[in-house]
């Protein structure tokens, strides 16, 4: 375990740098977009005097650099600023959107890990035989279906035709947990593709690991099959899967816009879409901070897991 701590420190510093870079990039890109919050709010009444007045009330008449510096100064005190459009604090936007997103991500993950791991190991155990082929065919097939299409299909068949589940979560944005039925279809859609990609990675890693010399050696020592698979082979198979899992969690936590829109779940993806359309720069920057930190932390966690599972592999910083 020598070198883990300095490595972690290096990675954290790098992560902080990446976060700053993302925030600056988001700010620059938003400034580069045509129109600003005043123009977006004026909409189809682009009366120049009104736009000027709106700009003044939103303090958009100040230079971009000055606004960025002000915002960064606030951030140093943990203040993410407030929305240009509504004046509400950005933190309340993030808190409102984070609840539904976190709930969906957690549920998806709770199902994803055992399901994908189980399917992957099962397929690897029966490599080349019927079970493996069946699992491979189904996972490949489902992976090829985009979330949107699957969502529409599920809503049409399961919700509207069979009437087993509600088609959307409309009106339940604040109390999703009180109506678990509305979560079934969204979680199913979120689960569909990650399960497939992850199961395939576990399967491939498992087959490689089972064929590795140290496993053959362990087998010769008479270590029983289950222990061999889960204690010796699986950790090696997890390295690529852990990275994929981190990417999936990142994707889930940053708000899956397609699923949120289709099922009317007001998560972070919805907040992001609205903020872009309204050119609400402080909200966008707040989201950028959250997304960047999430990405950095998750990837770091994944790399740490790999580091622990397969010390030989080494970790590129």
């Amino acid at each position: 375990m020598t070198g883990l701590r300095p490595w972690l420190l290096r990675r954290l510093l790098l992560g902080a740098g990446q976060t700053v870079a993302v925030v600056l990039l988001v700010f620059a890109l938003t400034e580069a977009l045509p129109g600003d919050a005043a123009v977006a709010l004026a909409g189809d009444q682009p009366d120049p005097a009104r736009i000027a007045a709106l700009r003044e009330t939103m303090h958009l008449d100040r230079p971009a650099a000055e606004r960025l510096v002000d915002w960064a100064a606030g951030l140093a005190h943990g203040d993410l600023g407030s929305s240009l459009v509504s004046g509400r604090p950005v933190s309340s936007y993030l808190a409102d959107g984070f609840g539904p997103t976190l709930l969906l991500a957690t549920l998806t993950l709770l199902l994803l890990v055992p399901l994908a791991g189980g399917l992957g190991v099962l397929a690897a155990r029966h490599e080349g035989r019927l079970v493996d082929r069946l699992i491979s065919a189904v996972t490949l097939g489902v992976y090829a279906v985009p979330e949107f299409a699957l969502g529409v299909l599920l809503v049409t068949v399961v919700a509207l035709r069979l009437e087993w589940l509600p088609p959307t979560a409309v009106g339940h944005g604040d109390d999703l947990t009180a109506h678990p039925a509305v979560l079934v279809l969204p979680v199913l859609v979120l689960l569909s593709r990650p399960v497939c990609s992850l199961a395939r990675l576990v399967r491939a890693g498992m087959i490689d690991a089972l064929a590795a010399p140290h496993i053959a050696h362990a087998r010769r020592y008479g270590i029983p099959g289950a222990r061999l698979r889960y204690a010796h082979a699986l950790p090696n198979a997890l390295a690529p899967a852990a990275q994929q899992l981190a990417r999936t969690v990142d994707w889930l936590l940053c708000g899956v816009i397609v699923v949120e829109a289709l099922f009317v779940i007001p998560g972070l993806g919805t907040v992001l879409m609205n903020a872009v359309a309204e050119r609400d720069v402080p909200v966008l920057q707040g989201l950028a901070v959250v997304f960047a930190v999430t990405g950095v932390v998750l990837n770091l966690a994944a790399d740490t897991v790999i580091y622990r599972c397969t010390p030989r592999a080494g970790v590129a910083a």
Binding site: G35, A42, A49, P167, V170, D174, T270, E278
Partner: protein, 526 residues
């Protein structure tokens, strides 16, 4: 169009009379309408007597953080629908966009039309206090606040609010900066709601509207309940819930799945799929959106009126309505406001005539003309209309290049730059369309139509007390626009609403943004 257009176009005198007759007919229609606003028409259509009680859930597209219960900040359809449930205006627009009294019972001008006395009806706010002249003046002064940017500010600009005063508890005397014959339109302006004197905080708003506030989460939901003492009779519904679903498919699925009873803003394709199938009811609100191409009349090639006329003749309006609106609409005749009060429906319907268009272009020295048509996915049908028109123009040798713009800044981008762009407008009185878009002083003059004589006609109309005489002036203005204006109005889109089969009393005539659109105090559940 049913006035026999052919002879009219040859005899200006006849044409004029034809229009006046049409104006008269519109007037009669207005009278008939006044007699049966409320439940009667929809009750007939739906059958049965109104039933009291129940909760109606209505799904609208929302705007997340932008959503507000401050009625003066209302910007989205969802904002307006909520505002009209909680608040009242002094007047509102009927299906023909003429002003109907609401909190006002009457309005009387002085001889110069620059001083109007408005009497208020007996109405109470949700907290029990009466609606008074002071509340009215406070509300209007708040909207007109020069430090703020309320949407209705421009509409109230003709008012001199420092000179206007409360004569007594229920009488307001409005002083105007210049004669304003269409003063009642101002009382019905978008967002001109009456709030209690001194209100600044709208987190738990108090209004005089048919529903009282219960709860509100921006971007998610709003819950209201019946206001028993509503001056226009208490609503049939016990509760009203506004839910936000931004995707059309989500609104439709929620309606089909019984999660909502009313889905606002559906697509023509949805309407066609579900119309008459018995699962849900489709309501088409005609003449809700004017669809057009705006030509900048102050720059080449459109500074030549022959080129503008050629473009009028290039458009195959039927094909545009069928293609860009999926048939959910009617063809236009290069004038705003089909079906509205003062609309010049006596003018002959323009038909495509590529040969004459080619001839006109040749005379204007614009053969082989190339134009860029700005469009964007900002409104339904825009990109489709642009592509269809490009092909239509090609038949007369005009090369149209379609340029896609950002939908978040489209209206500002196209206001002063470019030469030709897709343009649409919601319902408003003809007079508002003129004053906002077609005068030298108009702030959103997308066709850059600036003519002193046209301005003078507008002033003349505003100084004309007699409705028929005013209609004649509007007719002259419209004839001018018809022959050489900058708006190629090719259609009027339906506004499509879906309701559950249990919903009764939804008005089927009111264009979006008028009084009876998204009006839930007249709706009941069976």
């Amino acid at each position: 169009m049913h006035d026999g257009p052919a002879p009219d176009s040859r005899f200006p005198g006849l044409r004029r009379r034809g229009f006046l007759a049409a104006g008269g007919a519109a007037g009669l229609g207005a009278l008939a309408l006044t007699g049966c606003t409320g439940t009667a028409p929809s009750g007939d259509a739906a059958g049965g007597r109104p039933r009291r009680g129940g909760t109606l859930r209505a799904a609208f597209a929302g705007g997340g953080a932008e959503e507000t219960l401050d009625p003066h900040r209302a910007n989205l359809f969802a904002d307006v629908a909520r505002a009209k449930a909680l608040f009242d205006k002094l007047a509102d627009f009927g299906a023909d966009l003429s002003a109907r009294p609401r909190l006002a019972t009457s309005w009387e001008p002085n001889a110069g039309l620059d001083r109007w006395t408005v009497r208020l009806r007996k109405a109470v706010f949700h907290h029990g206090k009466p609606v008074t002249a002071r509340d009215v003046l406070y509300s209007y002064r708040r909207i007109a606040d020069p430090r703020q940017a309320f949407r209705a500010k421009a509409s109230l600009a003709p008012l001199d609010l420092t000179a206007s005063r409360a004569v007594d508890e229920r009488t307001v005397e409005f002083v105007l900066k210049h004669p304003t014959a269409e003063f009642p339109n101002l009382l019905a302006a978008f967002g001109a709601y009456i709030v209690p004197d001194g209100t600044k905080d709208f987190t738990a708003p108090v209004g005089s509207g048919p529903f009282r506030f219960v709860s509100f989460t921006p971007g998610r939901s709003a819950v209201f309940r019946r206001h028993e003492d509503y001056w226009d009779g208490p609503p049939h519904l016990e509760r009203l819930e506004f839910l936000v679903a931004n995707e059309e498919s989500a609104r439709l699925n929620a309606l089909l799945g019984g999660q909502v009873e009313y889905a606002h803003e559906l697509t023509p394709t949805t309407a066609r799929t579900h119309e008459g199938k018995g699962q849900i009811e489709i309501v088409r609100l005609r003449n809700s959106t004017m669809q057009s191409f705006a030509m900048k009349t102050d720059r080449p090639p459109f500074d030549d009126r022959r080129v503008r006329e050629a473009f009028f003749l290039l458009a195959d309006r039927r094909e545009l309505v069928a293609g860009a609106l999926s048939g959910a609409g009617e063809i236009g005749n290069d004038l705003f406001g089909k079906g509205y009060q003062y609309y010049a429906d006596g003018l002959p319907q323009r038909r495509p005539d590529p040969d004459r268009a080619r001839h006109l272009l040749k005379k204007a020295g614009a053969e082989g003309l190339r134009v860029t048509l700005d469009t964007s996915a900002v409104a339904a049908g825009f990109t489709e209309a642009a592509a269809i028109f490009r092909d239509q123009a090609a038949k007369a040798g005009v090369r149209v290049k379609v340029a896609m713009g950002s939908k978040d800044s489209y209206w500002q981008d196209t206001l002063d730059s470019g030469t030709l762009c897709c343009y649409r407008s919601g319902a408003m009185p003809l007079e508002s369309h003129f004053s906002q878009r077609l005068l030298s002083t108009s702030t959103t003059n997308a066709t850059h139509w600036r003519h002193k004589d046209f301005d003078a006609l507008y002033q003349q109309a505003q100084s004309t007390r007699n409705t028929e005489d005013r209609a004649a002036v509007y007719a002259r203005m419209q004839r001018r626009l018809y022959t050489e204006g900058g708006f190629l109005v090719w259609g009027f889109a339906d506004w499509i609403v879906g309701t559950a089969r249990t919903v009764r009393g939804v008005d089927r005539r009111a264009p979006a943004n008028t009084l009876d659109w998204a009006r839930f105090d007249r709706v009941w559940l069976t």
